[in-house]
Structures are given as C-alpha cells and as structure tokens.
C-alpha cells in the first residue's frame, strides 16, 4: 500500500528539516561574517570579549552549542532581536501567516491561470493566439519581479488610483483575531495587486510544463480514439489531454516552490507587505542575526513542507504510482 511511501516521505521531510538546521547552524557560526565577529569586536578589551563570548555561549564546544541551538529552535525560541529588543518569535508570528496566506493564494491562482492558458495555447496551436501566449509567457518568465511590480504599481496605483500603494491594511483597520485579519474587504483590496504581480511570474512554470506535456500526448492513440468516437474538441482537450498532463505540472510545482520564495521576497518588498521576506531583507541589511535566523528557518520550513504536500498530491493524482509501485 501507499503507507510505506507515506512513512518514507515523512521521514525524508524530517531529515531535510534537520539538514536545514545543520546548514543554518554552520552558516551562522563558521562564515567569515558570522555574528560573533560583529558582537565581539576586536576593539574591546580582552575581559569584555571573554564575558561577551560567555553570555552568548560562544565559549562552549561546538557540539554543545549545536544541541542548545536545536533545543531552542524546537521550542521556537529564536532569541531576542538586536534591533527591536523584543523576542524574535513576537516579530515573526504575525508575519509568518501573512506570508503563508499570500503564497498559498498566489500559487493556487497562478497554477490555475497557467493551466487554463496552456489549454488555450494547445487549442490554438501554431496560430497567432499560441504565439502570443508563448511570447507573453517567455517575457513574464524572464522579467524580474521587481520590474513587473514597479510597472503594475505605477499603472494601477499611481495613474489609475484603483488600488492602494502597499501595505496589508489601511491605517486603523485590522483586527487582533487571526481570522479577522484576513477575512475582510480591506485585506482583499490590499492583496489583489501583489497577488496579481506574483502570479504574472508564477504562472509561467505550469504554463510551459503543461503545454509541453499536452503536446507530447497529442499524438497518442487514445486521442485518435476519442476523436473517432466523435468527442468534441473541448471534451478531448479537458478530459483526455489536460487530465494526463497534470502530473508533470505537479512535479514541477514542487521544484518551483523554492524559486517562488524568491518572487515572494521581491513582491513583499515592492508592495511593503508585512511578511517574512521583508523582515529577512531588512534584518539582513541591519545585521540583526536572531531575526535572520528565525525568518530563514521558517521560510525553509515552508519550502520543505510545500514540497512534501506536492509530492503527496502527485501520489494522489497518478494512480500508476499509487498502485503499481507499492503493492
């Protein structure tokens, strides 16, 4: 049955998370510009240096530091921000869900658009519509998101004044409850433009993968059979071609998530979205190490978890894998 695969995949996810911990630990300890270099500056006297090292636990052996570090991260204790002087988790807790909700909506919307456009493109194969869609996809794929974002912002916010310039809520609006933060029109009004911008970039991956996959299936016998049966073209396209071509789209979506995070960071910066990407960039610019560590860790967790989900989705979509391999 599929349980074995499920267990294996879950174990792999946990292993990847642990590897993320290790990579992050070494990235923040052993690199030339690590925090100790900026906290314990050479201009201090020797006693002060030693004291500082002791207070940040830098005097202990590396493995003790590692165990302490893992223990703290598992309790979501990322330390205290150098800059804001409050626990990092307080800063991140609010921003984490802003990023996750934004990304989920943008990814689902972009995948939907990409799949629909791929169907249109295949239906109009080698005609003007197809060429125009390919051109649009290529240019969107190759344009950095900050360019798209700036253009979209200039047109829709400055000139037409349809949407706000940025942020997630108007001043004074907002709610202290979790659901109240996202389930209101003000949030929607602020979220439409950034999500539209992000989807301009995200839709290209499912679009091209889906188009290629569908074109590979066009020559198959079962399509000819469906035609001979007298099925309409729309029916063939949706029920026979698109359904089969969904599998590579899901696989590529898993790979695209790692890249999608980078688009996420840029869009958050451009639209001043109070999310993890903004926090990561600004805290890196002011070398606020506990916050960098916290945001980086949680962004990594998002990527790993979404990879996991898309793998399970793949399992669900492709019965060949579900039945053949694990029975």
């Amino acid at each position: 049955m599929t349980y074995r695969y499920l267990i294996e995949r879950t174990a792999m996810m946990l292993l990847t998370m642990f590897a993320l911990l290790v990579i992050q630990f070494f990235m923040f300890r052993l690199m030339p510009g690590d925090p100790s270099a900026s906290i314990v500056s050479g201009s201090l006297t020797r006693e002060v240096q030693l004291q500082l090292r002791k207070s940040w636990e830098l005097d202990k052996p590396l493995y003790v530091q590692f165990v302490n570090y893992v223990y703290k991260l598992l309790h979501l204790d990322f330390g205290i921000s150098f800059f804001k002087r409050i626990p990092v988790i307080e800063i991140i807790r609010y921003r984490f869900w802003n990023t996750v909700i934004f990304m989920l909506v943008a990814m689902i919307w972009a995948n939907f658009i990409g799949i629909v456009l791929a169907c249109v493109s295949v239906a109009r194969r080698n005609k003007t519509g197809d060429t125009a869609l390919i051109l649009l996809g290529s240019v969107c794929r190759a344009t950095p998101l900050f360019v798209t974002g700036i253009i979209v912002l200039t047109i829709f916010s400055y000139w037409l004044d349809y949407f706000p310039l940025g942020g997630m809520h108007a001043i004074g609006v907002g709610s202290s409850t979790f659901l109240g933060r996202f389930l209101n029109f003000d949030f929607l009004y602020h979220a439409i433009l950034p999500i539209f911008t992000a989807s301009l970039f995200y839709f290209t991956v499912p679009f091209f993968v889906m188009r290629t996959a569908m074109l590979e299936y066009v020559g198959e016998d079962y399509i000819a059979l469906a035609k001979a049966k007298g099925q309409t073209n729309v029916n063939i396209l949706i029920k026979h071609l698109a359904r089969n071509a969904l599998n590579p789209v899901v696989t590529s979506a898993a790979m695209a998530i790692g890249f999608a995070i980078s688009g996420q960071v840029i869009v958050e910066i451009i639209f001043r979205w109070p999310g993890m990407g903004t926090e990561l960039v600004y805290s890196t610019l002011r070398r606020d190490y506990p916050v960098i560590q916290g945001t980086f860790f949680l962004l990594g967790i998002i990527v790993i978890f979404m990879n996991y989900v898309s793998d399970l989705l793949y399992l669900y979509l492709d019965p060949r894998i579900r039945y053949a391999k694990f029975e």
């Binding site: 990235m27 240019v139 998101l145 020559g219 960071v265």
Partner: protein
Amino acid sequence: MLNSSKFLADILNVNTLRRMLAGSISMLWWVTNGIITTFRLRELGYQGKIGVFILLFFIFIAIFGKALAPYNPKESLVGTDGKFKSLQTPSLQHPLGTTWQSRDVLSQLLYGCRPTLIAGATAAFMVAFIGVNIGIISGYFGGKVDMILMRFVDIVFGLPFLPFIIVLVSMLGRSQMNVIIAIVVITWRSVSRVVRSQVLTLRELPYVKAAKVMGAGDFRILYLHIFPNVLPLSVLYLAFGFVWAILAHADLSFLGFADPEVVTWGKMIYSAWAAGVMTTAFWWYIPPSICISALASAAFFYARAFEEVANPRLKEQ
C-alpha cells in the same frame, strides 16, 4: 645565452608567420564550428535566432560598452551654469537623460552590461558543470552513491532560493565573486535531478553494455559514451541557468546585496525606486528594465528553440 635577435628573426620569418596564421585560422574555424554544432545555431527556428542575435548584441555591449560610454557612470555631472544636472530629460547631450544624482543614464546602462553578463555566464557554466557531473555519476553508478547524492539534492531543494543567497552573500561579503558562488551553490540542484533521470535510461542501452563488455572503464563510459548523449540537455540547462543567474543577480542588486563598487541594471532601478520618481523619471528606470528583460528573454527564447530542435518529439506535432 639566448640570441634574441636570431629568435626574433626566426619568429618574423614569413613562413613561420604564414604557418601561425593558418594555424590560428583553422583553430578559430574549429572552435566556431564546434560552438555552432553544439549550440545547434543553424537549426534553430526564427525565435531562437532572434534570441541569439540579441545575446550577441549584449555581448558586444559588454565588451565595448566602457569605450562607448560618453561619461563616467559614477560622476555627478555639473552643467555650464554651475548647477548639478539632476533628473534631466533626454537630450542630445544625454540621450537617456540623467539620474537624481546627476549621473548619465546611458553610460550607466552601458557599464551595467558587463557585470550582469559575466555573472550570468560564469554561474551558468559552473551550474551546468556541477549539476551534470553529479547527475551522471548518480545515475550511472546507482545504488548507495545514487541514494546519498539524491538525498543531498533533496536537502538542497529544501532551501529557499533567494533568502539563502541573501544570507550567504551577506555572510561572505558583498562582492561579485561571492554573489556568483552563492547563486551556483543552490542552482545546480535542478540540473542534476534532470540529468540523472536521463542517464538512468541511457545506461540500460545496448551500446553502453557493449562498451562495458569490451572492457571500458567506468569513467571512460561516463565521459566518452554517456556524456555526449546528455550534452543537449546540458546546453539546455546552460541557457536556463543563465536566465536564473541573471534574474538572481538582478534581484540581489535591487535588494542592495550586490558588489557596492559595480554599476548594475538592478541597482539603477533600485536607486530610481528609492528616489521615489517612478511616475516622472521614466528615462531612468525603463531602459535598464528593458535590458534585463531582453537579455533574459533572449536566453529563454534560445532555450525553448533549442529544446524543440534537440527534442524532435515536440517538433513534429
């Protein structure tokens, strides 16, 4: 003691010169021919050819840009009236106008081509090299080697792309080299996965088995028999790696993590954005936007056209 005049006379001998000339011409011919066949330049569709021409144009700008630039891109220019030429609209003197800091936009644009192109090309080659090697070794040897390498790739897939590059660059220090290293360290993952799955089918083919029976060593089979069949895929991912690297480089420049000494297109757009003149000073940020977009699109067009040539299944339909 070496007789230098005799040495010179030998070198300047007409026959020697002729031979050297013929040698270098044939070498050039050989290299060009190799490039044209490897990159399938003759067979590309018109979209791919347009892409190649745009790429060649940008390579030309990258080489001669500094000589063509009318001003120093970092110099704040002063007009004849003694005032700074801040935010001037395009004119004959400044074909693309000036920035808020009174710098010539055209010169910045011409200077900005080289770092982008170098970063893109270097990163693409390194990504293809590492990715292809790990992919073929993993796919060919299988078993434990495959298991370990692929789990490693899975782990790298768990890293968030841009955040990882940002953190790594800020730790290593903001220089052009470190930006390239940071991009390479994370981008190779996609290449190795694709190459591996290709090698998995290749290694079962009769000609590989025949080579093995004849006593060919593992590495001979890997690099003389399997690698030529993965070459089209490597070229494809070379082009994709170029696009990814350019975009990552632009993103980093825009966010302020690139080398502070280097003028780049991303940084030009960032400074226009930071100055808050997006609604008025179009001449400042539209040209670099178009340049980044055109360069990456050209590489992407080429990649798509190449894919169609190299994968005939797509072409015939």
